[in-house]
Structure formats: structure tokens, C-alpha cells
């Protein structure tokens, strides 16, 4: 039997029917076929190529108010029966409910403008790598590129059936810049929905060369500053990691309920403080899975809910949580289509898609820098972290420049922005007109699920008291 033959959508219908027959009050099933290829280059040497495919069948069963998520790969009717027959439920009643949803029928396929013909991705990657190799002061170059095409078919006991086909590319590239006595490391990442054009849109070699040059300049000409800065202008790369870590994650309703407490953590948001002020009136933060070509793109989530833009913070006020059908039942609201799994073998969790700070068309980056007058401009970061409830964060600058009399000045070696979430967002004085999304892979759950996301939006001027 071939992988194509094993993409038997009849198994999905059968799985749902068997679950209902066995006493489930709700069931859904997803069949997923993934084809992938990937390459890694170390200092110009092709370490190895990888190619492969997988077929996974997942069944989610709500029975006696417990949610069971079962999966097998390379499914057959016999393996499906074995999996379902193997489930022995709990003695007591559970506490899970699934909020009712509408019935959806959909079949969508994301086209590849440039088809992934044999070897095309490797040729493009090698070409970019060769270009980066022209930079003489790199101590290490290491990177990998991947392509995958995910074909999914979903049915649930409410009559929905959704089929999708989404191709994606992602690239990771690390350089170590050598300035004699010391080094700096930079890791580039990019991901997109689509075919080869997604990788080509990454601008890999130009961006890495530009960063290498900036980092060398920082090491050779950078100054150290030993005081907290009152005025900080952040570029979309910093805005992106900040909206992701300090707004997006705490807005995940499963965290708010404590369901991720032993894994991905908690949230400063609780059932009791929803609607609180998080930022200044200049701050509106959204998460939108429907942005074409984005890394976090989808039109229906993994529970069969139609995707839509979510406004997490509106004019500085907490506005909406990311919900799945289980948390929606607890909050007495509706799912906003936030359930995703990294692959069909795992349980769908509440995930961000593409999270961003809404731009303000009235202000250019130059306006922000002029308004700051004296301070720093943080263009990119290296390490970052945040605490369990997402209340305290740190973003270590990589490319940082002094702002002196409203103009950009010398590079800075050692700036770190370390503050509380509320201080960060309430200090936003102006938002710029830029709109840039950067790529990030986001980890959550146990087993760990790695999800492609975009994050970013506008530049911003933060003025701390």
C-alpha cells in the first residue's frame, strides 16, 4: 500500500463513527499526509539531505467528559480498530466540555507560485550560502532549510468536513562574526507559506551580510553604556518578540485557566482581571492567521473552527483571549479558531499565528527617533527571556545605536531592555508606520510542539518614567 492509498479519508469518517458508537459525546478525526525535504550546510559543505513523508490519523474523543487524543501513523483500518479498542477510560467523570460550533465544509489549497522541482531548494540555498561566504570575517556558517507540504482532511461529529493543502518553507542560519579578541553570534530565521518563492522572499544572504557588517561595527566601534535609558526606540524585530512573549502567550486562554501550568506556564491575566489596561492608548495588538503567505497561515483551525483576526489589546485595553472550543466552554464565549497542533500526532493547543503591533501611519521611524531626542534605537536582539506569568522580560540588544539630539549615533555594545510587561507597554509613547513580520518557532505543550509563527508589526518609541 502506498502513502497515497493510506490517505484514505474513509478512515476519518470511520473513526468518528466508531467513537460515537462507543459512547463519545463528541469526536473529530484528522488525517494528515506530510511530504518534506531538507538540507544542512556547514561552512559550505552539504552535510546531508533528508526527504520523507508521513501519514498520521488522529482521533479526539470526548467521553464521560474526558478528552482523549489518540494517534497512529501509517493508518489502516486494522490499526484504527486496534487503537480505539485499546482505550480504557477513567472511572470518574471528567470536567471537559467542548463548545458547540457551526458546521463547515471547505476545501482550500495554497498554490506554489514556484513549484518545488527536484533540487531547486538546495540550489537556491547553496547560492545564498556562497554569497554569504564572501564575507571574510565569519568564523562559522551553519544553516538548514526545509520544505514541507501538509495535506489534511478533518471531520467531526457535528458534520464539518475540511480539507486543506499548505506548503511551507523555513530556513535557519547561524553566523559567528570574528573581531579578533571577541565574537558575536547571529541566528537568522525565516518561514513562509508557499513554495520556493517563500524561501526566496527570505532575503537570506542580503540580511545575513547586513547583520554581519553591523555586528562587526558594534564590536569594533561600539560603546558601553552603564545606565538605564529613558527613551528607547524599538524596531519591528523587538516589537515582535515582545508582542509574542508578553501579550500573545498570556492571552492564551488555556494558560489563563492553568491548563499549561506545568508546561508552558501561566499568565498575568486571570479570569478576574480581563479587560485591564495593559498598555498606553497607542497600543493595539492583533493576532491574525489569515495573512496570506505568512508562517502562521491557516483558514480553519484543528478543531474545525473558521479562522479570523483576533484583537488581543485594543487602545491599550485587554480585549480578547485566544480560545479553543474547550476554553470557550469555560469562559462562556466562542472559540476564535486558535487550536493548532505541530502535527496530527499531537493534541491541538491554543497557539498564536501572526501577532503584531498595529502601525500608526502618521509616524515615520525618523519621527520616533526625533521625538526620543536622546536614548537608544534597538534594531535587533540576541537572547531574551520572560518569567512564568509573563510579567518580567528581557531583550538583549544585538544591533543597538545611540540616539543623540534626535539622530542616530554610535553603536552600543551592551544594551539590554529589562522591564515589566505593564511598564513596557504603558511606556509606548508613539507607534511608527513600519510593518514588518519576522519569523519565530514557538514551543508549547508536552510533548513539546513547535509551531511556526510570525511576529512583529510597527516600530515604537518607549519613554520610561
Amino acid at each position: 500500500m502506498s502513502a497515497k492509498a493510506q490517505f484514505d479519508t474513509g478512515l476519518v469518517s470511520r473513526a468518528v463513527a466508531l467513537a460515537l458508537k462507543d459512547g463519545a459525546t463528541y469526536a473529530d478525526s484528522t488525517l494528515e499526509h506530510t511530504r518534506m525535504e531538507g538540507y544542512s550546510l556547514r561552512d559550505g559543505i552539504l552535510e546531508a539531505a533528508a526527504s520523507g513523508e508521513d501519514v498520521i490519523l488522529r482521533v479526539r474523543i470526548l467521553k464521560n467528559r474526558y478528552l482523549y487524543t489518540l494517534s497512529i501513523n501509517w493508518p489502516t483500518g486494522e490499526r484504527l480498530s486496534g487503537m480505539l479498542g485499546n482505550l480504557k477510560g477513567f472511572r470518574e467523570q471528567g470536567q471537559t466540555s467542548i463548545d458547540p460550533e457551526g458546521t463547515y465544509k471547505s476545501n482550500y489549497r495554497i498554490p506554489e507560485k514556484e513549484a518545488m522541482s527536484d533540487g531547486a531548494l538546495l540550489r537556491s540555498f547553496t547560492k545564498e550560502d556562497s554569497d554569504i561566504a564572501k564575507v571574510k570575517y565569519l568564523k562559522f556558517r551553519y544553516g538548514g532549510v526545509d520544505y514541507e507540504k501538509v495535506h489534511r482532511y478533518f471531520e467531526n461529529s457535528e458534520g464539518s468536513s475540511i480539507e486543506s493543502s499548505i506548503p511551507k518553507t523555513s530556513v535557519f542560519y547561524s553566523i559567528v562574526v570574528d573581531a579578533g579578541s571577541n565574537t558575536r553570534q547571529y541566528i537568522f530565521q525565516h518561514g513562509a507559506t508557499g513554495g520556493l518563492e517563500g524561501f526566496e522572499r527570505s532575503g537570506l544572504s542580503e540580511k545575513v551580510k547586513d547583520k554581519a557588517k553591523s555586528m562587526k561595527e558594534v564590536m569594533e566601534k561600539g560603546v558601553n553604556i552603564n545606565k538605564r535609558m529613558k527613551n528607547v526606540v524599538i524596531a519591528p524585530e523587538i516589537t515582535g518578540i515582545a508582542v509574542h512573549e508578553s501579550i500573545g502567550h498570556p492571552s492564551e486562554a488555556d494558560r489563563v485557566l492553568g491548563r499549561e501550568a506545568a508546561q508552558a506556564g501561566l499568565s498575568y491575566l486571570t479570569k478576574d482581571n480581563l479587560g485591564m489596561r495593559i498598555g498606553s492608548e497607542a497600543v493595539t495588538i492583533c493576532d491574525d492567521p489569515t495573512i496570506k503567505g505568512s508562517a502562521g497561515f491557516y483558514l480553519y483551525d484543528d478543531e474545525g473552527v473558521k479562522a479570523r483576526k483576533r484583537i488581543l489589546v485594543k487602545d491599550g485595553i485587554q480585549n480578547e483571549l485566544l480560545q479553543n472550543r474547550e476554553t470557550a466552554a469555560v469562559f462562556g464565549t466562542r472559540s476564535n479558531g486558535s487550536a493548532r497542533s505541530s502535527d496530527a500526532g499531537k493534541e491541538p493547543l491554543i497557539r498564536m499565528a501572526n501577532t503584531y503591533l498595529e502601525p500608526d501611519r502618521r509616524n515615520s521611524l525618523d519621527d520616533l527617533i526625533a521625538e526620543a531626542r536622546n536614548g537608544v534605537y534597538v534594531k535587533s536582539f540576541t537572547e531574551w527571556n520572560i518569567d512564568d506569568t509573563r510579567s518580567f522580560s528581557k531583550y538583549q540588544g544585538n544591533e543597538v545605536y545611540l540616539i543623540e539630539n534626535g539622530k542616530l549615533g554610535k553603536p552600543v555594545k551592551n544594551f539590554a531592555l529589562e522591564t515589566t510587561t505593564l511598564n513596557f507597554w504603558n511606556s509606548v509613547k508613539m507607534v511608527g508606520d513600519e510593518f514588518e513580520l519576522v519569523y519565530g518557532r514557538c514551543g508549547k505543550g508536552e510533548p513539546m510542539q513547535d509551531a511556526p509563527t510570525n511576529m512583529g508589526g510597527a516600530s515604537a518609541l518607549l519613554t520610561f518614567k
Binding site: M1, S2, A3, Q6, I45, L46, E47, A48, A49, A50, S51, G52, D54, Y66, L67, T69, S71, N73, W74, M83, N86, F90, G94, T96, D118, G119, T126, Y142, S174, I175, V176, T183, Q185, R228, A261, A262, A264, G265, L266, Y268, K346, E347, T382, E383, W384, N385, I386, D387, D388, S391, F392, K394, Q396, A416, E418, T419, T420, E446, P447, M448
Partner: protein, 466 residues
Amino acid sequence: MAMGKRGGKGAEEAIDDAIEFVFGELEGKAEDVVVTSSSGTSTYVKVVDSRVDSVVDIDDSDIGVFIAKGKRLLFTNLGLVGREEMRKKLDRALKTVELLQVNRDYHGIAEGPYRYKSALNYDPSVENGDYDAEDIVSRVVSTALDGGASYVHGMLTLYRGRRRLMTSGNVDATEKDTSVSFSARVFMDSETSVQSNGASRTLDGIDYEGLGDYAVRTAKMARTSGMIAEGNYDVIYMPIAAGVLVDRIGSAVSMGSVEAGFSFLMDKLGKNVTDTDISVYDDASAPDGLSSYAFDQEGVPSQKTTVIKDGTLKTYLHNTSTARKYGTKTTGNAGLVSPDSTGTLITHKNHMKSVEELVKEVKRGVLVTNVWYTRFSNYVSGEFSTVPRDAAFYVENGEIRYRISMGAKGSASAGIRINDSLPRMLKEMDATGGDTVQVYNWDSQDYNFTPALLVRDVKLTSATII
């Protein structure tokens, strides 16, 4: 509740037939061939608010293939498909590998056969589903609640699997694995939490009541909370916190990390890299290690390797290919392209029997029970920062004074951040204390072995002051 054995003997025979067929099809068609069959089931029982919340059960089987032809390397997988489909995939793979660029750094795989003396622990009860998940959860949760905890979140994870390896280097080896782990995050109230994790290859290898008891005892080390100023402090990392950093030390010893620019130990072979009382081992043969294996990905028997002895870096971790490149022997850490660290163990000659004795060594410091978001600004320099996740305690004149809280209401976060570098940390590690235990952490999901660590003069910062 239990998830029973899937497939049974018939499934094992089918996958054995498949791997033998694939190996037969590839034999003689490339210089090096490695075929691996794997089948395993993972069960995750999630605990939320002291109750079982949900179950995830993942059954994953596959046939993986590695082909090296003229130093051109290709990995592919075949899945559980029919023979004709397998033949087609293999034909395609053999054509594809010809089109790849040469990896001049590749120097082949190990030549067997080998004799395996592995004595890894194994539990038929896990394989057969002969356990009661609710009872296991109850043993942890009840102990914590009885000790005064308000609620417990966590995860019980069970795994059973089988792996067979056939290589053109005369290896044909099979091993079966079972494992159990329990991760419990115990909250005394909304502002005090402690993480308690246990891991073993057998059900009886974990003291479930002990997990709940440890969390409660640790949380009660201080009854009050307070703030600390930014500055330099001695830091005691309890084993769960230490494990994250020990894991990063292990990763840096891999030749793969060294060659790719992800190691602070580059160019340090034969040199002093730590305090001279410290030794570090990579142990893939630890009988109860969840990262342990009988043989690596090319069939070399697992071993315990001394990587740092009395402060001196003795070896990097190698597979056969990197060992040949650098004129040394494999350490049994394949990774066919890049060697992997496994079960890193750290020891210190100044080891104290208990954490309490370690605390007595500290004039002004912090005891950290757990960390997460450990991020490196530069893997070559080893500079990192990490955030205490659960309870952290201020220590003064050899005594724990209070739990650190920088003022986020309703948050168990200490609100402090550790800023250090691995080279500095290893030079300034003065002592270890308490039991050496197998640790894992949500931030670092590999299994390593460490006692509590005492590191002097660590820079702590806080976000509450700007």
C-alpha cells in the same frame, strides 16, 4: 486507566520483515547503509488542578534509511508501506543521492559486529499497560495536598518502544525501551510553587510520594517573602535547575556543536576549562537513564565517557566519521552526521552530603529551585541568561531567610534573572551537594545527572527597576 500494548508479536514480526526487506534491497548499492526500524507508543496523562484532565496517546512506527554513496549523504524514511512502494522509494533515494554534493568531512560508519553488554532497566508492566495511571497521579497529588499544597499541575508520561538497527558495517541489533516520568508543579498558594520531577525506566523507579513531599518541604523552607537588590550573589542551583545548565555543557562537548559554532569548548582540548575539582561524563550506558541506549545510531555499544577530568577537557564526543576525521576513536555518540551528547553527569570533589550543608557555605546568595527560558547570546562565548521559574530563596550567613518576590501580585515568579557564562560558571563552581539525581525540565527535555551546584558571584538583575 491504562493504554495497553499495541500490535503485539504480529506487529513486531511485520516490522522485522520490513527492515530485512529494505536492508536486502540496499545491500551492495551504496558504500554505507543504515536501516532503522522503530515502533513506540507514548502516553501523556495531564494533571490540572490536582485532577487528571486529559490523555494523549501517540503511536509512531517507521523505517528510516541512511545512504552514503561517494561521500554523498541522504536520509529518508519509508513508513509502513507495501513492498512495491518501498522499492520505488528506495530507487528514488538511490537516484537522488547521486545528485548531491560531496561531504568531504564524511568518513564512514562503524564496522561491527559488536557484543552488547547493556543492562538497561526495562519494565514489562509498562509495555503491557499493566499500571493504574489514576493511582500513580493520586500518590503524587495526595502527598502534596496532605502536606499543605493548594493544587498540583503536572504530567505523567509513559513510553514503550522497540528499535532494530541493520547496517552495512555488520550490525544487526535490537533493543526494547520503557520509561516513566512524572513532572509535578506544586502550588502552596498562587505565589509559591515548586517543581518536582521524577524519571525512571521502570514504574517502581520513581518515589511518587517523594515527589509531592519534596515540593512541599522545599516550599516551606521559608515562611515569608521579600525582595533583593540587583547585584552579584552566590547561587545554589537545585538539581532541576542545574540540569538545564548541565545539559548545555553536554551539548557543547559534541563535535557537531564544535564544528557548527555552537560550543564554548572549541579549541580547548587538553586545556583547563573548569575548576580542577570538576569532572564531567557522558553516560549513555546508565542503567536507569532515559537517554541511555544499548547501541548508538551506527551500532556502537554505549559507554561512559570522561569528557572533563579534574578540570581538563579530555575529549569531544564523536561518531565514527568525526573520530576518523580527528584521528581518535568514536565515543558511541552517533548521530550519523553529528554526534549527540547523552546523559551528562557532573561531579565535584567538594561534595557535601546535603543541600543544607551547601546553604551553610553561602554568606549572601540565592537558592534557585527551577529555571526556564535559558537563552544564549553567543554559544561560542557561552554567555546566557536564565529565569528562575518557581520558588527562589534569599540566603544570608548560611541560612535561608525568605522567598524572593519582586512584587507581581498573584505570581509565583521570583522576578529575578541570572546572567552568566558557562566558562565562568564552571570556574566559579565551588561545591556540589545532596543526591545526584536524573533530571529533566520543560526547558531542557533531555535527561542528565546532577546534584545541587554552588556557583560563586553570579550577576542577578531584575526587571522591576528601570
